[in-house]
Amino acid sequence: LEEPLIFEIGGSETTGVDLPEPSEGANRLGGMARTEPFGLPGLSEPETVRHYTRLSRQNYAIDLGLFPLGSCTMKHNPRLNEKVARMPGFADVHPLQPVDTVRGALEVINELAHWLIELTGMHGVAMTPKAGAHGELCGILCIRAALEAKGDARKVILVPESAHGTNPATAAFAGYAVEDIPATPEGRVDLEALKARLGPDVAGVMITNPNTCGLFERDMKAISDAVHAAGGYVYCDGANFNAIVGRVRPGDLGVDAMHINLHKTFSTPHGGGGPGSGPVVLSEALAPYGPLPFTARRPDGTVDLIEEENAGEEHPLSFGRMSAFHGQMGMFTRALAYILSHGADGLRQVSGDAVLNANYLLRSLEDVLDAPFAFSGPCMHEALFSDRGFADGLTTLDLAKGMIDEGFHPMTMYFPLVVHGSMLVEPTETESKAGLDQLVVALRSLAERARAGDMSLKNAPIHAPRRRLDETLAARKPVLAWSEPDVPAGHPTRSEQGGS
């Protein structure tokens, strides 16, 4: 059964709530009372439950199966964390209540901030950024503020070829000229090329470590030292921190700023595309410039909020506020519950199992799928493959769509850009060996079909709610909102009937 749109089944007189009928009476709307109808459809409660339940079943999700999505880290989302986030003291408090009535909420923020600092070996943390990309802006703003404080108006940010797309977008958005850093043949930043480019115009570098080829940047400390020596700052994209959590502290490698995607490393749910949360840990050099508001623990143990009202004394160099209120509280509670659940031993096991799972896949598949950097040793939490060896006419896309028919979500395709037809596979630590073995069987079979030129892969997926969708049509003639169709006479739509 196809599920219609709410506009096709709802009516303007139907509602799934019981509220008093609006009465005549006081109207102080300044003459702005709405007179025109909106055209918003309503559904009764049973219809609503059914509509969204049915829709949900057209989604693939972590709760249904493995998501080998490199760089995006889809792992188990504990239900404890959902329960915790809904405790009334967190879910039902207003951001501008007097601080004496929200000390516990502030403690959550402060406690999470504390462990983020400890896990990364940094000096401070900005908790308000609302997603990884927002965190990148925060980090760049700190760098800029620090340079400005020295009267130093550098205009270039260096970014490796293999960077996440957000990195150059952020740097460009922030008004910097973006220049590439080349990679070595084994997929790492070319230290010598970097050193050669450094100079008084370079504000900083943005590096992902482990990088997007799934490799640890061995020279990270040397890179940092060189950048610092040249008067710049090091921004680290922390999207892959889950590979090293509990084993490597970025602060020890000379990083000045790094955002942490709470949903990647600390398992807040992805939610079909957000909400995210991207706290940014900061070095001693950058911490004074971090945004408002934030929390501070007092000697007596209470936690205070530092905002505009008291920032003058407490945090005078802040570059300002990046958004309303105090950050993604609902994600903080989940991430804190995750950290406390794992503890010091568990977090170390997280990165160990994530890396173990990725290497197991790498070694189980390298004979049938080209693995461009497999020669250079173990990978980190993700294994990189390419389409080299596929028969003519078959591509990474075809193999990926074939995975859907095998019951898996496709891996990340065509990223990183440095490898042709790349396939980035990240199993995460929350997959069992049995699950990985099933994935290996499926991928081996698909790889063999692709090498043998089995053109039926072009039709994949066939076992999915939809076949391949026409994305060109969608972009050429965008239909971005529902509108009433032309209706043959005598067949009024439900919503035109004013109810149903």
Binding site: F7, E36, L40, K83, T166, R218, A481
Partner: protein, 453 residues
Amino acid sequence: MRYLPLTDADRGEMLSVIGAPDVDALFTDVPAAHYLKEPIEGLPLHASEMAVEKHMRRLSKKNLAAADAAFFCGAGAYRHHVPATVDHLIQRGEFLTAYTPYQPEIAQGTLQMLFEFQSQVARLYGCAVANASMYDGSTACWEAVAMAARVTRKKRVVLSGALHPHYAETVRTMAKFTEDEIAGALPTMQGAPDIDGLIARIDEATSCVVVQYPDILGRVYDMTPIAEAAHAKGALLIAVNTEPVALGACRSPGEMGADIVVGEGQSLGVGLQFGGPYLGLFAVRDPKHVRQMPGRLCGETVDAEGKRGFVLTLSTREQHIRREKATSNICTNSGLCALAFTIHLTLLGEKGLRALAAENHRLACVAADRLAEVPGVTVLNDSFFNEFTIVLPTDARAVVRTLAERKVLAGVSLGRLYPGNDDLSGGLIVAVTETSTEEDIATLCSALKEVLA
């Protein structure tokens, strides 16, 4: 560890396939000097679910939950009753644990929901097209300012003094990058906003005028003259709305000529959550502006068999395709909050939203009348929807703190929002929704009377 399925036996087998002696051997690329030999210091070992739950519950109980107080806080975040159905549905694993719908064949649930969401937001705002959501209202406001600069190729931004100060601050911070010039102001403490003063600040260099509706003090007013004045100078009107329920009673910004309408969607479905995650709404009145919009867009198309389906589209605007040429660096939306919003709004429908708005307004009128009777209290507003500003003869910050000790959360003081402005320090923004009872209103009035006496 309950979240980690590998057993030691598994690990051993897998290491032997890999040909490594132990897991540490997989980290050989990490220089020994920086590879931790021991677990992170200070952090306790793993804990049972029961222990973690107890710890978090203890912290939760240190807060005064709105349900346990007489509650009147607003100023950008509103407490409404969210039907149980909403939370039930957003917790379905297929929504909660789904990925961004880049593989549309197995993400039609999220995609259709987003298409419906976009359609609802556009209608609510009186616009042609809405995107699939932003982080929150304040960042959506900034994105609108940036978009206006792209559209008009001008840089001067005129902010209404009655724009939420956090939103103004966010614009100011982000403008440091783009070097836009920001002209701001403080709110005028009068019954109606100073529209003439705002219009007077618009000039030929102005890319956009940013107003809030209802404004930070709760005032509702006609934006049409501002739109006309802006358009006359080649500027866009950006209307910010922080309370979507207001649009169940008040004319939409799009109707009044706003070019970009942005707002906070938290009121519907999302809840207070101490400020986040919230839901940024973003819509444009003129479809030709679509290609300058930031954020994700979901569009209708067909699949290989001709069946209707939905995809993320126009992604050439986005960072993962355009890298440094993207319209914005935004890469996430607030998907699950958008789902909550669209479910709540579907349950309400037009009929329910109108009734909800009417009930909010009714109770707010009751509260305003009762508060006006408290000696020393003046109600500032000529017009309002569900929040208004009262002026106290003393610093409202202190009054709010004192009342909180009696479990009365009386509202948001202007002194907290605009520290250092003595002229505003008596102001208190009071929000009244359907969750406030007449008993709560009476509690507020009598407590205020005592404190002011």
